[in-house]
Amino acid sequence: MGREEDIRQAILDYGSKGAKTKFYFKDMLAGVKKTIPDTGASEVKGVASKMIAEGILEYFSTGSSTMYGVKGRGISVEKSGDAGG
C-alpha cells in the first residue's frame, strides 16, 4: 500500500475501533502515529480533509471545539457542553 493508503487505514482503524465515536484531531494523530511513527500533523490533516470531502469522515462540532468521527458512527447532536463560542 502507498503511504496515503496507510494513513487512511490507520485513521479508519483508530476511528472505528475505539470506544469513543468522536475524537479530537490530536488523539487521532497519536493513534495514527502508533502505526506510522514518522507522520506528522499536516500530513494526517491533509488525508483526513480528503476523507471528509469523500464523506468517509465527518466533523462533529461542540460549538467551541471540533472533533472528527467516522461517518454514521455515534450520536449526531451534542447534548451538552459550553454554549457555542
Partner: protein, 478 residues
Amino acid sequence: MGIPGKEKMWDKEEKEHRKYDDVRIFTDKDFNNYTEDELKAFKPKHATPMLDELEKGPWPSFVSDLKREALHRHKVGQDNLLIPMEAVDDLLGVVELSYKEGETHWKHGGIVGVLGYGGGVIGRYCDQQQMFPSVAHFHTIRVNQPGAKFYNTDFLRAFCDICEYRGSGITNMHGSTGDMVMLGSTTEQLEPIFFDLTHDLGNDIGGSGSNLRTPSDCIGPGRCEFACYDTLAMCYEMTMAFQDELHRPAFPYKFKFKFDGCPNGCVAAIARSDMAFIGTWKDDIRINQEAIQAYVADKIPRDGGGMAGANWGPFNIQEEIIDRCPTGCMTWDGKKLSINNPECSRCMHCINAMPEALRVGKDTGVSILFGAKAPILEGAQMSVLTVPFMYAKHPFESQQALARKVQDWWIEEGKNRERLGELIQRMGLKTLIEVLGIPAMPQMVKEPRSNPYVFFKESEVPGGWQRDIGDYRSRHPK
C-alpha cells in the same frame, strides 16, 4: 477591491462590484409591508409577559425588534420564505420560557456544516420542538466580515436578503470575533446559503470550533491617521494564507489573529487574540511645537473635540499630558514640549489628546504578542509581548512564518481544548521564545517596565549564578 493584481475571481469576471439589484430577493414593497398601527395590534404567536417588560425601559429593546420582524415575516408569507415563517414567533416563545424557568432550551453542536468545512456553522436545536416547531433547527452561520467591517450598502442589503429568505431574518452585527452572524436557519439551507454567499457576495463563511477564527482588523489606514501598518492588507493576506486552518480544524482549540494599527487597540488584539499584531514605531514621536502652542492657548480642542461637552475647563498641558505620561518621559518648560523617546511605552495618551501636534513616528511596523483569551475555560488572560518590533511589508511573509511556527508548536504540545496562552503559561515563556528562535529581550515584560521575566540559562551568563558576596560587598557596601 482587494490587493491590486490579486482580485477575487468574482471581481475579475464581473469587472465591477455586484450590485444589489442584480441579486436582490425582495422588493422595496416587501420591506415596507406593515404599518405602525398594524404593529400595535399585532399579537405574536406566544404571549411574552416577561419579555414585554424589557420594552418599557429607556433604550430600544431587542424584543421590539423581534416583534417587528415576526410581523414582517407574517406579511411576507410562507410562500416567499424558505424556513418557517413563524421562526421569530417561536424564538420569542422559547426565550420567554427560558426567562420563566431560568434554564436554556437550546442544545447545540453536532454534524452540520457545509461540505468540506469544519467550522463556521454552529448547530443549534430547541429541546421543546413540539411547543416551538419553527425553531426546532436554528443554526448559526458565521460569515467572514470584510476587512475592518468595510462593506457597502449593496453588500449589506444582499446579505440581509439571504438572511431573510433562507434564515430567520435575524442577524448579529457583529459577533465578538467580528463575524457577520446569521442567526437561525435549517440544515437544508446551509449549502444554498454558502452558495449565495460565495457566488453573489464574493464572501465566505468564518471560523468556529477548533479552527483559526475569522481574523479581524481595525479600520487602520482606511480612515485612521494613527495606523502604523496596513491592517486591512495584513488581515486579508493572513486570512487567505491560513484558509486551510480557517476551514479545516486540526488545532487543539480556537486560535485568533487580530490586527490593531496602533496601541489604541480598537479591535482589542492585546486582550482577545492568541496572536496579536499591534502597530508601533521605532523612531521618535513627531512633534509640531506650533500646534502644541495652539493646544495650550485652547485654540485647538483637546482629544479631537471628543471631550468638548465634558466641562473640563481650560486645557492644562502639565496636568493633562505631562503628569499623566505613564513613564514620566515628557517635559514642558512653558514653551517647548520634549519627549525622552527611549522611555516612551507607546501608550498613545499624548497623541490621542493632541493629535494635531503629536504623531506616531515614521519608522513603523508591528509588535507581536501571544496568548490572550477570554475567560471561558480558565480566567481571562492578556497577551505577552514577544516580538517587540517587526516590519510589516506586503505580503507579510515574516508574520506568516512566525504564525506557522507557533501553531506547529501548539499542535504538537497543546492539550485538547488548551489555548495557546495556557500552553505558554504551562511551559513557560522561555520555552516559547526558544521555539520561535527569538532571543530574550528586555522589552519582553509582563507589565511594561515592572515585571521582567528571567530568561537566561546559567551557562549563558558569564560566571554562572555563583558570586563572591565578599567581593561584591567590597564594591557595594551595605
